[in-house]
């Protein structure tokens, strides 16, 4: 039975010349789980918004064609463009990429937050209570019931956002990259919850960058490119296409193996960064060896470090850690203390007890601005960092403030923009860019400062395959230059591929500290820390079995 029909849908945002959605015609059956893939800017989020009616009701712009809910026959179906969102929200639910912006901002407990939509639509109290209990159980957030939604970690907040939509019992659930900010375990939980919903007959449309997950869970996948549908077929057919890289998509490793053969891909000989003997990493090692010969490799020494935001809830407890100039990934569940640790290293927070030494000097006597010459830090949310009206000015801000000459600052800024693939956008207002581009502006603005240490907080968020490849190249380049790269990540494939050392944090303590090969084969450790094995490791294990 048809649930959703697109008829020659076209849409253009206000003040834009290019169509964001171009002549889309397809149908989705009731109970289907449809994945939405494509490079950044392909139109995935716009399509999600169109099903919900935000396009055109909220975003306005030029709209043509039709989306019909409930069937192909116009007499029986609801036409999205002619139905107010307040009506549509009874049939369609949308979960945003950023859960922070999905919260109502007017409720002080998770319970009340979930109830918000039901109250607005006049559902009776007893029914509200029944639905909230059921959805909290389903998403395992019963323990968060009385917490303030704004106090939750990203993963917890996303589950609350999902609950607040599911509680409306929509027939169609649209998810716009809902797991991009979640740790692997939380992301898997969301996928499992969504699969449970599918079993109950709900239709699901999910935009996602995690191809492995879509391949595992979806019935069909839409491949979008520049607002047009390139293909709409089963995961097997979609991921077997030879031209996926033309659309900024890297198929799941399992499909690559099936298609090209394991030996050809050398998947079974696949080694993590730490033990790979490529020309690149040899060059990096040579460079590091040369540098290490005239100053010690130790960058940070963390001694008995404890920190808490409120006395009763310690975040880090008696942490001891040495960080050298190997590329290092810090992994762990949302709320494990990863961002707190790097903020302490950067001097943005002061330890409750213990000390941090940077190159054998206690950082407690230095201001953050003083440390900026040596330690660069890219924030998770680029909007916290951007404030100039031109990309070039934004990228030059850091270099100028650490005392670089203007000409040199400009040269460094242009180089940094070229590295992150933003050449040509120097005069554009950063706020006019897409999130993935703003994230790259934030990276470039720290890269241009040419610091000895670069800390990246979730650099892969919002990045598609091409963006991730750019970041990989950047990390290898910095490694080759002998710089220390420290990154917080939830993407284990990226960690396995790019980082020599992996530090596993859980509940403010170091649970594991070794190369990727060791960490990702320790299943007990991964389970405790809520992590999962990278795809390459999983595939290798399958063969061994």
């Amino acid at each position: 039975m048809t649930c959703l029909t697109f008829r020659n849908l076209k849409y253009r945002y206000p003040h834009q010349e290019k169509l964001a959605l171009d002549s889309l015609s397809f149908t989705i059956k009731k109970g289907e789980f449809v994945g939405l893939i494509g490079a950044n800017g392909a139109g995935k989020s716009t399509l999600c918004g169109a099903v919900m009616g935000l396009v055109p009701h909220f975003y306005k712009g030029a709209y043509g064609g039709k989306i019909l809910l409930g069937g192909e026959d116009e007499d029986d179906a609801i036409e999205v463009a002619k139905t107010p969102i307040a009506e549509l929200c009874r049939s369609v639910g949308l979960v945003f990429q950023n859960p922070f912006n999905q919260l109502s901002g007017a409720r002080i407990t998770v319970y009340e937050e979930i109830a918000f939509g039901l109250q607005n639509t006049g559902i009776v109290r007893e029914e509200i209570r029944r639905r909230i209990e059921a959805v909290m159980e389903l998403l395992d957030i019963v323990s968060l019931r009385d917490r303030n939604p704004f106090d939750l970690s990203g993963g917890q907040m996303q589950r609350v956002a999902l609950a607040s939509v599911l509680v409306m019992e929509p027939e169609i659930l649209v998810l716009d990259e809902p797991t991009s900010q979640l740790d692997p375990a939380a992301g898997e939980e969301v996928f499992r919850a969504v699969e449970t919903l599918k079993a109950s007959g709900i239709t699901i449309i999910m935009a996602e960058q995690k191809m492995e997950k879509l391949a595992a869970y979806c019935d069909r996948i839409i491949l979008l490119h520049q607002g047009k549908i390139v293909d709409f077929d089963t995961p097997d057919q979609i991921f077997s296409r030879d031209d996926l890289s033309d659309y900024g998509i890297c198929p799941p490793l399992s499909y690559l193996v099936a298609k090209k053969g394991a030996e050809k891909l050398d998947i079974y000989g696949w080694k993590p960064h730490s033990s790979r003997d490529s020309q690149d990493s040899r060059a990096a090692q040579d460079s590091r060896a040369a540098r290490d010969s005239w100053f010690p490799a130790e960058i940070f020494a963390v001694r008995n470090l404890s920190f808490s935001y409120v006395p009763e809830l310690p975040v880090l407890t008696d942490l001891c850690l040495d960080l050298d100039n190997r590329t290092t990934a810090i992994v762990g569940q949302n709320g494990a203390g990863k961002t707190t640790l790097v903020k302490l290293l950067k001097g943005l927070l002061s330890p409750v007890s213990g000390s941090i030494w940077y190159r054998k000097e206690d950082i407690s006597g230095k201001t953050v601005a003083m440390l900026a010459r040596d330690i660069g830090y890219v924030f998770q949310n680029p909007d916290d960092q951007i404030f100039k009206y031109h990309v070039l000015d934004e990228v030059m801000f850091g270099p100028l403030h650490i005392g670089m000459e203007e000409q040199l600052a400009k040269t460094r800024a242009l180089e940094a923009l070229e590295t992150v693939g933003l050449t040509g956008l120097e005069e554009v207002n950063p706020y006019d860019l897409e999130l993935h581009e703003r994230k790259m502006v934030a990276v470039a603005s720290v890269l241009a400062m040419d610091t000895a240490v670069l800390i990246l907080d979730e650099p892969t968020i919002a990045q598609d395959y091409r963006g991730r490849e750019t970041l990989k190249r950047l990390i290898r380049q910095l490694e080759g230059e002998g710089k220390a790269v420290l990154s917080i990540l939830h993407d284990m494939d990226f960690v396995y591929d790019c980082f020599e050392r992996v530090i596993v944090l859980a509940a403010g303590k170091v649970m594991g500290d070794a190369g990727g090969e060791v960490i990702f084969h320790n299943k007990e450790l991964l389970k405790q820390a809520g992590l999962e094995q990278p795809t390459a490791v999983k595939l290798r294990n399958l063969r061994i079995k």
């Binding site: 935000l54 943005l348 953050v368 601005a369």
Partner: protein
């Protein structure tokens, strides 16, 4: 998250009273001495408010408000005591300065009025959850949007403060010195304005989309999570306050 609400959830009889009962207390406490027209009326109401604050365990939280208004009260006594237009009878002199009885009495009236308002409002604000109060107002007919604006302030202002701190951190970490002398800190304030305002606007736009998809514009009548009826205590409170207002009116008429 820190909230800007002053509400103290002590689970006492005061927090258990209906918000409208406490609101009516504020109205009665302010108007009764004004109707009665006697200084003793102010003393009586201040006394009642203090007893209620003490019995509700809220006095310590109310005292900073008194300290805050101390400068204003002192200024009133100085100005009125020295310069009140009807000053005739000198009461005390400090060197060249002569304080008059009429001026000081007038200042006492204003001062007591301020203190009375302060204590009664303190009682209301410290013992009433603003979210429950707005919910009751909405139940009584306040438009949903107006209610949202009021309660969102309690969440959004702390969020903006947190955003300001994060943005400051981002700028410090790119070499902008924000610590040290006043001039340094003042200079660091300017680049802060644009991202704070811009991020607030971006968040507001996205949040309004989030509200839309959760039925905020629905024409149906909103439902409420809890039923709050007037208890016996509330009815007794209303009765006592009506009695108080009646006594004030009688006192005024029979003087």
């Amino acid at each position: 998250m820190k909230t800007i609400s002053l509400y103290v959830d002590k689970k006492t009889y005061l927090t258990g009273l209906h918000p409208f009962t406490k609101l009516f207390y504020v109205i009665a406490a302010i108007t009764a001495p004004l109707i009665a027209g006697k200084l003793s009326g102010f003393f009586l109401m201040i006394g009642i408010s203090l007893i209620l604050l003490i019995s509700g365990g809220l006095l310590r939280k109310a005292l900073p408000l008194v300290v805050f208004t101390f400068t204003i009260l002192l200024t009133i006594f100085l100005i009125q005591g020295l310069f009140y237009q009807n000053n005739v009878t000198p009461l005390l002199s400090l060197g060249q300065l002569v304080f008059y009885r009429e001026g000081l009495l007038y200042a006492a009236r204003i001062g007591l009025n301020i203190l009375n308002m302060l204590f009664s409002f303190a009682l209301f604000v410290l013992s009433t959850d603003p979210f429950i109060f707005v919910e009751e107002l909405e139940r009584a007919g306040l438009p949903k949007k107006a209610g949202y604006i009021i309660v969102s302030v309690f969440q959004i202002i702390p969020q903006m403060a947190a955003a300001k701190n994060t943005i400051t951190d981002a700028q410090r970490s790119r070499g902008l010195e924000t610590e040290g002398r006043l001039l340094t800190r003042a200079r660091a304030f300017i680049p802060l304005l644009s991202p704070v305002v811009t991020s607030a606007l971006i968040n507001t736009r996205e949040r309004s989309a989030a509200l839309e998809i959760r039925g905020f514009e629905a024409k149906t009548r909103k439902t409420f999570l809890s039923e709050r009826s007037f208890s016996r205590s509330d009815r007794l409170g209303f009765f006592l306050m009506l009695l108080l207002l009646s006594v004030a009116v009688l006192w005024r008429n029979f003087q």
